[in-house]
C-alpha cells in the first residue's frame, strides 16, 4: 500500500469510527498526517494500536509545536506511529488553543511516552492529564518559563552582561 492508499484507508477507518472527531488530514512527503480532536486522542491511538488490521503498535516519537500565528489553535502535539510489520508510518496531530494546554496522556498505551511527554511539558508546558510523574526533565526544576515557546528568545532576556551597543548580537 503506498502513502496515498494508506492515507485514504485510514481516513475512511477513522471517519467511520470517530465521525466528526476525525477532522481531516493531508500527506506530507511520505507521511499520512491525520488530524483528530484533542479529547479523543487516546481513543484514536488505542484504536490504531489495537485494531489487528492496522496494528500501529510502536510509538516512534511525539513532540509539541507552537505556532503563535495560527490563531485559535496555537499549540499542537504530533504523535508518530509505526506498524513495523507492514512498515507503515503515520503522524497523528491534535491542535489546541494557547490557554487550554491539557492533553490526555498516552503513557497508559505506551510507557515510552513517559519521558517524551515530560520533555514536551518541559519545553512547551503541555499538561498531560493522567501522566504518572509530570515534572521537568531536561531543564532545572526552578525554571519559570517554557523555553521552546516562540515568545522566548534564544538567550535569557534577563542577562545584562552582554553589551550589544557596538556590534549587535
Amino acid at each position: 500500500m503506498n502513502t496515498t492508499e494508506l492515507f485514504d484507508h485510514l481516513s475512511e477507518k477513522l471517519k467511520s469510527q470517530f465521525g466528526d472527531d476525525f477532522i481531516g488530514g493531508e500527506i506530507q512527503y511520505d507521511f499520512p498526517v491525520l488530524i483528530v480532536e484533542k479529547k479523543r486522542i487516546i481513543d484514536v491511538l488505542q484504536f490504531l494500536k489495537t485494531t489487528p488490521e492496522l496494528n500501529f503498535n510502536f510509538l516512534t516519537t511525539l513532540c509539541g509545536i507552537h505556532m503563535p500565528e495560527n490563531k485559535g489553535s496555537e499549540l499542537a502535539v504530533m504523535y508518530q506511529l509505526h506498524n513495523m510489520v507492514e512498515n507503515w508510518r503515520i503522524r497523528v496531530k491534535i491542535f489546541m488553543e494557547d490557554g487550554d494546554t491539557k492533553v490526555p496522556s498516552v503513557t497508559s498505551i505506551w510507557p515510552a511516552a513517559n519521558w517524551m511527554e515530560r520533555q514536551e511539558y518541559d519545553f512547551f508546558g503541555f499538561k498531560f492529564v493522567g501522566h504518572p510523574d509530570l515534572r521537568r526533565i531536561l531543564n532545572m526544576d526552578e525554571m519559570n518559563y517554557f523555553p521552546m515557546r516562540k515568545e522566548y528568545p534564544l538567550e535569557d532576556g534577563s542577562r545584562d552582561d552582554k553589551n550589544d551597543k557596538m556590534f549587535g548580537r
Partner: protein
Amino acid sequence: MSTHNHLIKPEAEKEYNILNLGPTHPATHGIFQNILKMDGEIIMHAEPTVGYIHRAFEKIAEYRPYNQITPLTDRLNYCSSPINNMGWHMTVEKLIGCEVPKRADYLRVIIMELSRIADHVICTTIIGQDTGATTGFLYFFQMREKIYEIFEEVCGARLTTNIGRVGGMERDFSEVAWAKLKIFMVEFPKFLKEFQSLIERNRIFMDRTIDCGPITGERALAYGFTGPNLRAAGIDYDVRVANPFSSYQDFDFSIPIGSNGDTYDRFMVRIQEMWESVSIIKQALDKMPTGEFHADVPEFYLPNKEDVYSKMEALIYHFKIVMGEMDVPKGEVYHSVEGGNGELGFYLISDGNRSPFRLHFRRPCFIYYQAYPEMITGGLLSDAILTMSSMNVIAGELDA
C-alpha cells in the same frame, strides 16, 4: 542457616540505604545520576535524573540556517557523529527534493558503517572493561583511532566531524584516505576476531553477562527501543532495511538478533553488526560507482573554496548559503537513519525561512533509557553498571 533467622528483620522494620550513583561516577561513563534504594546489594527502586548536559539543541536549531545545524547534530551521539550528520543532510535533501548521486551515497555508506563500527567498538570494549576484561579496552580500542584517522583524512576532524554537506560530500576521498581505508579493512577483521575469541566464550564473561539486565521483546517495543538493544531482544527492526536510505538497498547484509535481551545478547549483536558493517564497506568498495560526489544543487551545496575566490556564481551561492538566504520549500518532513543506538529521527517543519520552524530530534537513547529502572530493579548494583554500559547510553544524545 535457621539459627540466624532472628537476624532478618520483618518487612515493616526493614531499613533501606539510599545510594546516589552519579552524576559523575567513574563507572557510568558519562553524566548520569541514579538514586537507588538498596536492600543490601539488591536494588529495590531506581530513579534516574537526566538533563545534566542539556544544551537546548532544538531551540538553537530554530535560530540557525540549515548548514549550521550539522555541528549541533555532531554533539548528539558523539561516538558516531557522522551518522547524525548524514541523517540531518538527508532530512534537508528530502525537504528540498534533492537526488544525490550514487557515488555520494556509497561514500556516505562507507563513512556511516565506519562510525557504526567505532560506536560498537566503544560499547563492546566498555562492556568488557566493566566485567574486568581490561585487555579489550586497551587493545581493541586502537581500531577506533584508525577510524578517526580516516575521518580526519576525509573531513579534517575526528570526533565532532561535521562531515558531508547538504547534497553530498564536501570532497571526494583523498588517496591517503583510500589507502588508510584499505589498510583498515585488512587489519580490522583480525582485531575483531581476536577480541571475539578473547571474550565471547570466556566463562567468566558469560557468567557475568548472561541474564544480566534482561528485557523481553514486548517490553522493549513498549518502551520504544530501537537499534541493537531492540534486536538483542529478538525483534529484527533495522531502519537500513525497513526504510533504506542512502542506497542501502544495494547491499547484501543480514540483521543479527538475540533472544534474551540481556547484556550478553546486546554484546553479541553489536559484535555481529561489526562483521556486517565490514561486509557492507567491502561491497561498497567493490561496487564504488564513478561520477560526482555531490548533487548539482548550487543553491544548497556549499561551493568549493577555490571557486568561491575565483568564480562569481560560486561566491554568490556561498554568500547566500552562509547567510541563510536559500529558497526552502514549506512543509514538514521526518527522516530517520539507523544510528549507532537505534532509530535517529529528524522531524523538521519548514516555513520557508532561513532556519527551521521546528526541529525535533528522535534520540534513541533518551527513549530507551527510561526502561533502565525496570531493567535493574531486583538485580545487583554491579549488574546495574553493566546494564547501563551494554545499553550504550550516550549522555550527549540523552540530553540533547
